[in-house]
């Protein structure tokens, strides 16, 4: 019994030490935390996906599915469907188009919003080349994460709707939709597709990925309601609907 008792105490102490070691190891291990500094789950990997960690706490990242990072050397933008001259553009060609900058807020239908300085070009610049047919009512965006979204030609040709390649003075990061995304400030984030691979001109309105699933309107115009801007500690603010311009 005495021998067993000694073993039990030894085991108990050993177990306690292992538990403490595991606790502290877990506290500082990656990928969530390295030496107390938080980074996102996809940092250092070949993939990007939904995250609100690390630097993305100030501008959340949503993806339909985790996806492999885009190779800038091989990426092209294919424009297909109802147009006179279907064309494939390289990133260099797109960056040579007349560009404009705008500060606008991206409002997610889930709750949050964040503002950034975007730089890109109007879809008119592309349409001068590809010449959409009169029968084309809208565009289906095919994205790198298998996300699909539809916007009408009318919505895409509104002022302040841009195809952007830069954010806050730098090329779009992989997380923010490198190399090309749409910014439509009067519509919820799900109508602002990222990592665009193909734009297909179509004759009829289609439901995008989210509109097929949940209570997401196909139109996606921001409704009157409440917003929780990330840079203002998510404190609720009333919004009138449409683009948020008050802050």
């Amino acid at each position: 019994m005495r021998q067993i008792g000694k073993l039990t105490r030894r085991l108990f102490i050993k177990g306690g030490l292992w538990t403490a070691a595991l606790f502290f190891w877990n506290l500082f291990r990656g990928p969530e935390k390295v030496w107390g500094q938080e980074i996102d789950s996809f940092s250092g990997t070949d993939f990007v996906g939904k995250t609100r960690e690390g630097k993305h706490r100030s501008f959340y990242i949503n993806f339909w599915k985790p996806m492999r990072r885009i190779n800038a050397k091989t990426w092209t933008l294919k424009i297909s469907g109802l147009c006179e001259s279907p064309t494939t553009f390289t990133l260099a060609e797109l960056k040579n188009l007349p560009a404009q900058s705008q500060s606008s807020r991206l409002k997610c239908v889930e709750c949050w919003s964040a503002r950034a300085e975007w730089r890109g070009f109007s879809i008119k610049e592309l349409e001068q080349v590809i010449l959409p047919h009169a029968s084309a009512q809208g565009v289906v965006f095919h994205c790198g994460d298998e996300y699909k979204e539809y916007l009408s030609c009318d919505a895409l040709n509104q002022d302040r709707v841009l195809l952007v390649h830069s954010m806050n003075g730098e090329s779009l990061s992989d997380a923010h939709g490198f190399p090309l995304r749409l910014i439509a400030p009067s519509k919820y984030g799900y109508k602002n597709p990222k990592t665009i691979l193909e734009m297909e001109y179509v004759a009829e309105q289609q439901a995008g990925t989210w509109s097929k699933i949940g209570p997401y309107s196909p139109d996606g115009t921001i409704l009157p309601g409440w917003d929780h801007p990330l840079e203002y500690d998510k404190q609720a603010r009333r919004i009138s609907g449409g683009e948020i311009i008050d802050y």
């Binding site: 239908v109 889930e110 709750c111 309105q205 949940g214 209570p215 997401y216 309107s217 196909p218 139109d219 115009t221 409704l223 009157p224 309601g225 409440w226 009333r238 009138s240 609907g241 449409g242």
Partner: protein, 213 residues
């Protein structure tokens, strides 16, 4: 009150109110409670006096709007949906050409809440079934479909459906009333005193109107 009912009867009898205008409801003269102290945008709660008026029972539809503005287009089957995506100026012109006008926000609020200061057109409790964006005007349905959204004067869709332009202004913008609020995919019926301010040149898929006379 008797005089108003008599004049309404005489107007019907004399054909001054067309079949379309017959869908207008009478809101009698008198005071009502306007605003709410719990909402900074709608305070203070106060007593307001109004003359009698008629108000459209339903929001103006695509079909009605197209009769005046032939260039107005919409998807097939959307004829009875509330017209949206129109500026305040277009709404004002439509009402004027119909021999009517846009309601003031006082008229709109009295039509929605009656004289007992109710929170919703149907009473003080939210409906058991939460609104879905199908009722928001984003994915529109025909006017009057939600029979529970009915005011004390029989005016429909003042809490759900689309937001509505009014004739009233504040800080260079026009006051809009009604419709749904989106709170993180949780849709809430607008309260009778809820207000929203939108620039008159804006047009939104969730914003329509009705007329008064």
């Amino acid at each position: 009150m008797k005089l108003l009912a008599l004049s309404a009867f005489l107007m019907f009898a004399s054909g001054l109110i067309s079949a379309d205008a017959a869908e207008m409801m009478i809101v009698p003269a008198g005071e009502f409670i306007m605003g709410d102290n719990a909402d900074d945008y709608a305070s203070p709660k106060r007593s307001t006096q109004l003359e009698p008026f008629f108000i459209d029972r339903f929001e103006v539809t695509n079909e009605e709007f197209q009769q005046q503005f032939s260039g107005h287009t919409f998807w097939k089957g959307f004829e009875p949906h509330p017209v949206t995506n129109i500026t305040w100026y277009q709404a004002k012109t439509f009402c004027k050409q119909a021999g009517k006008r846009l309601p003031t926000e006082e008229e709109w609020e009295k039509s929605a809440r009656g004289t007992d200061a109710r929170i919703y057109p149907w009473g003080n409790k939210p409906l058991r079934k939460k609104p879905h964006p199908f009722y928001s005007g984003i994915i529109k349905r025909r006017v009057g479909l939600n029979k529970k959204d009915n005011s004390p004067y029989g005016v429909r869709d003042m809490s759900g459906s689309v937001w509505e332009w009014t004739a009233s202004s504040e800080n260079g913008k026009k006051v809009t009333r009604g419709g749904l609020w989106n709170h993180h995919l949780e849709y809430e019926y607008g309260k009778t005193f809820d207000r929203n301010l939108i620039a008159p040149s804006e047009r939104f898929i969730f914003l329509g109107f009705r007329c008064v006379k």
